[in-house]
Symmetry: C2
Subunit: 376 residues, 2 copies
Amino acid sequence: MPKQKNKVAKEKETPKQIAAKIYDMAKGIVADIKKETDPEFVTQQRGKSNVEFDEKKGILKLGDKETTRTFLNVGHAKKFMQTMLVSAKAHEYLKHNKTASIREIYYELKHTVPNTKENTFEGQTESDSCIVDLEHSINSIREKLNLHANPKGTLYGDITLKDKMHHNDTFNCGKLGRGGWSIMSRLEPEEIDIMKINAKYVLVIETEAMYERLVEERFPKDNNCILVSTGGQAARGTRRLIHRLHTEKKLPVYVFTDGDPYGWYIYSVIKQGSMALAAHSGFMACPNAKYIGMTLDDIEIYDLQNVTEKMKDGDLKRAKEMMAYPWFQNEAWQHQLKKALKEKVRIEQQALANKSLEFVATEYLPTKIKKKDFLP
Amino acid sequence: MPKQKNKVAKEKETPKQIAAKIYDMAKGIVADIKKETDPEFVTQQRGKSNVEFDEKKGILKLGDKETTRTFLNVGHAKKFMQTMLVSAKAHEYLKHNKTASIREIYYELKHTVPNTKENTFEGQTESDSCIVDLEHSINSIREKLNLHANPKGTLYGDITLKDKMHHNDTFNCGKLGRGGWSIMSRLEPEEIDIMKINAKYVLVIETEAMYERLVEERFPKDNNCILVSTGGQAARGTRRLIHRLHTEKKLPVYVFTDGDPYGWYIYSVIKQGSMALAAHSGFMACPNAKYIGMTLDDIEIYDLQNVTEKMKDGDLKRAKEMMAYPWFQNEAWQHQLKKALKEKVRIEQQALANKSLEFVATEYLPTKIKKKDFLP
């Protein structure tokens, strides 16, 4: 049964519609078997060679290359069986309104095939890759298959959410003390409503400690903004949340990370999407996001030479790779990346404490925002 | 000036009292200088050789060994200067009601000493060790010096908190949807009040995915308990919270981790404290905590042989070390540790999904709790 092509990935597909897509796929396969035709499973080809940068939309996407798996090919048969197991289980979750982590579905499906010594799965990588196949085949994301990875990230500010799957709890994330709301692993619109929001922009922050600093300085209140801390690379639930604030609520998104290739890559994943999830940029990316800092120029501007760190080999390697990516082909980023490779120093967000604890909240961020001193 | 001995570490010391302790210490040093005596800084000796297990209290503690640093000793002079810088800065935070991460205080204090090429600190390890010295010298914890590490962990359930430093926000952690409250890095009683709590016990969970499972299954509501997810080894703020629930609110604490030495060690740190922070067990430990699972016996009892994993070398090494610790000298834990070394398999919490997603909530945990089937 062929992949469902030419359908735009739909943000608002309901669990019922997704379940129907899986059911249709399976029905096609059963029909093939009844016709004594070799059943096929078609999915999009992933990997660098099929990733394209959509200049107009400003996001990464997948090209047209496909992968077909046939059941009667000995090399494909096990993977075919695994994909059917994952598809049936995801269908069951959707039917029964259950969700599961990708580790749970692995454990739930792992067993020894009766009368053999063959296990359905040997490791989680095997079920993970079936999940990715299924996502691409039905042109949606795992969250809409009721699957999720681990949660990570915190939300703070004058934003009221409603969890329709949990007693319709309605709460304002600016009124939870300094701790904030622990962002869920899945944040689909049919479950979590963004009821009300009073903010001029969203500030996305790499480190939790900087999040705590800005809360202590009352930055969100004084500047009328929402804070999202990612705790490193943003988890999928956190990316979905930022995406929704950006697209549903039309809020500008400013990203604030350490001044190093790792931090800049966190930004680019939030903005354009990632290569590994290129097909899902429509669910995840924020093409109009801006980068607020840290830049390597900040070191001189704010006289921070004394609190830089040496860049590690991994950072230098990443900087070289990033220089070649189409979505970094602009003067500002090429300048940063060249500077990184030349000077081999990095600067952390928290190094701004060298001026004073308040400096980031009273000077650094407000000045950049006022002057629109962003990187694209 | 000698360390302030014979004083019990006090949970309820106020910022003012802590600031006074630092001030007194500094006054003593100034007096020494005026008398032309070599000033001394006395702190407790840390490390395994000075850690003792207090059988009666069931917690780790430090012995009586002390370390004295003198300013006129060339080998001590720089460290002495660093300790004074950290002490003065912490005093300033307390005076001005500011808090800072241990990375921020490092950056704030790092500079080149005028007319020299000498930096105050070369790396964060240097300032961190001064913080530890100061904690031990004044017989308190960094949180009471207004310092903190990164936050991590989530709280869920019918518990109402008030943040007195944030508009007296008062909120119930069972009414924040499925996301829960993001636990702060510092949770001192003079800032965060536990206003109301309706629960029979606290269930501490190693993985965030298991936390999400139990919330989805409505386990906390059906079983009238509080959930705390640690996301691996518990952060200090999360340990303080669990400790407060255990001591202030007299709630039983049950700990639920993966069935491996790493998970068991997470448990023992929550229960008895850690060797690195042996002096602080009075602020952190929960000596009556119980271990609910996973045990290696669960593998046979619940027929999970198919979903075990091979133990890594690091786990085996840790198991050997743990066998020798005084606080693991009981039949139940010796049995687990021996079994680990013999069978070399581990079992994850999420492997229970192999029975069904609900199994952990409807069978595994309720049965263990009903039968009081705990490890000590």
